[in-house]
Amino acid sequence: MTTTDSRSRNSPRELADAELQDILGDMIQARVASDRAFALQRQGRAGTNAQVDGSEAIVVGAAYALDPATDWVVPQYRELVGLQRFGSEVLDRYVMYIKGHPNGGFHPEGTNVLPPQISLATQIPKAVGMAWGKKLQNEPGCVLTFFGDGSTSEGDFYEAGNLAGVLDAPVILFCVNNQWAISTPNHEQTRASSFASKAEAFGIPGVRIDGTDPVAVFHAVADARERAVSGAGPTLIEGVTYRLAPHTTADDPTRYVPADDLAKARERDPLVTFRAMLVEAGLWDDERQREAEAAADERVEAAVRRADETPLAPDHGFTNVFAEPTPRMVRQRAEMRRHLGLEDPR
């Protein structure tokens, strides 16, 4: 059963005006952080990183349909800048992560977001396992995992989707279809009519929605969450959008993205279309826009400052490999510290 109409829904609730404004604020925040991350890489102050541009409505819309107290987000790598709703640690740790700081990526207790995942599709089985564990332990809430269109070609996607179906796991499988997997377009990734249609093989509902509309995303995820927490099982959602930035800071898309397609996609930039919607509804104006952008800049600056000011232990790598390091690791760590002219740790 694949549906494509985002309006045919039995969503548990409607979004209030203030929430719509908050959603746009978070989308702006995501874009600003993403652009800043790109600039940091260019200045040699951060490593390779991937921009969220074009997927803001998906990440933020989904986040607003989840309960950060009970639900988990298991991300790929683009989404972290859009998960403010899950706590301010997410952005701070993301900035540390792209700077290559060992205190980055992971989140402290209370922030239900796993670290970014580089090894594609490997997060999907993990999300299913977490949802399975919730079910076994009668814990409230659900797990949502994001993955790209390209990632659906990996075995992990099929294996996890199949298992999720068999278990009726409280999990939401969210495919962010930004049309590209680096230089590989959708039509070279699959002959299926949609990514949502792959739900058929798992025996679960597949929903295809406009991924540039955060309200559509919100309702699709809210529906899926309702299914998950009521014990009805998983849902595969495909959010259709377009990647508006290079694949990463290391990519040159002019070699393969048709300029016309990109120009057309820019007209449907979620930051432009959703803002227009809110302006139309009398919920947004230029003043609000300026304020939102300034607040976002300041917020990102604070994250960069925190990253720059967080002390660095060169032997951090030895911690948390095991609960207790092996004797050989203890010896190696002492050797490393001696080589670097640091005092022995014990």
Partner: protein, 336 residues
């Protein structure tokens, strides 16, 4: 199918250009050669190693694959069984884990399982290696995990000339070869590459610099680190041989034994974590073949026994010239 009798000169190029140039040549030489992988065709690869191949040889011989390493390797085994000569790319060696069941259980065993009726003439190209601030799983040196799989040959060039010579040999070899390319050397390592047909036989180590006080044994980018250390030591009057293994399977046991017999002191350098890295195999080989020539215990310089770290920590993790120098000095100070 016959090699062109080009006049032999040499052209300076970096490793990346040498690899690209060799892929062009081998595809032109043998029309059974097919190149495929993630983003290799239209964009020419994330590092441009396969740039221009699709334009020259067409979309049926240079193919962008759906994003799935398991089927990239698995279909290569089938293509080889059908008589093609596949040269698949794994975008980064760390993603070979997604294909490990095909590499270890299938690619390495086609000849064995069919008692020689079929063979997997497959060359798997994959970049790896640290020092360039890549995201997680882009840097890991996992060659010893592969070397522990009988049936795989493993080539790890350290120079542009060897990148050409070993890649050509790999593609023409009837058995599966893991061809591991050092990310850090792609653009940084540049040397004269012989024009025309250039084949470097497997299992023949190369002496990069001559010396007889101590031998540093290394492979891939660590050869460059070893060479820099040897240059520094030479200014101090210490004469160090640098031996580049070039292929770790097959291993040039004779060259290792000869170097140990001449120098008596040995440092082995590897990027991988210490425990069960390929250095362990080299040291065990020295123990078997040249133990009585040793004047000091063999030292090894390795990554540490923790996952490859984030960018800000990697320079202290990957063996550096300074760490190699320290190991050399310790080894030289030991009384025989």
């Amino acid at each position: 199918m016959t090699a062109a009798a080009d006049p032999v000169g040499a052209t300076p190029m970096n490793m990346l250009s040498a690899i690209n140039h060799t892929l062009h040549r081998e595809m032109a030489r043998d029309d059974r050669v097919i190149v495929f992988g993630e983003d290799v065709a239209k964009s020419g690869g994330v590092f441009r190693a396969t740039d221009g191949l699709q334009a020259e040889f067409g979309a049926t011989r240079v193919v962008d694959m759906p994003l799935a390493e398991g089927v990239i390797i698995g279909s290569a085994v089938g293509l080889a069984a059908s008589g093609m000569v596949p040269v698949p790319e794994i975008q980064f060696l760390g993603f070979a884990y997604q294909a490990f069941h095909q590499i270890a259980g299938q690619l390495a065993r086609l000849r064995y399982r069919t008692d020689g009726r079929l063979n997997a003439a497959v060359t798997v190209r994959a970049p790896f290696g640290g020092g360039v601030r890549t995201p997680e799983l882009h840097s890991e040196a996992i060659e010893s995990q592969l070397a522990n799989i009988p049936g795989l040959k493993i080539a790890m060039p350290a120079s542009a000339a060897d990148a050409k010579g070993l890649l050509a040999t790999a593609i023409r070899d009837p058995d599966p070869v893991m061809f591991l390319e050092p990310l850090r050397g792609y653009r940084a390592v540049s040397d004269p590459v012989p024009d025309g047909d250039h084949l470097v036989p497997f299992g023949e180590a190369r002496t990069v610099s001559e010396g007889d006080d101590l031998v540093i044994i290394a492979w891939s980018y660590m050869v460059e680190i070893a060479r820099q250390a040897a240059d520094r030591l030479r200014t101090e009057g210490v004469s160090v041989q640098v031996l580049d293994l070039r292929t770790i399977v097959p291993l040039d046991v004779e060259a290792i034994a000869a170097a140990v017999e001449r120098c008596g002191r040995v440092v082995v350098v590897q990027e991988a974590p210490e425990t069960c890295g390929f250095a362990s195999e080299v040291i065990a080989t020295i123990n078997d073949e040249a133990f009585y020539s040793l004047e000091a215990p063999v030292a090894r310089v390795s990554g540490y026994d923790h996952p490859y770290p984030v960018g800000m920590l990697e320079d202290d993790y990957v063996p550096s010239v300074e760490r190699v120098l320290a190991a050399v000095r310790r080894t030289l100070e030991m009384a025989p």
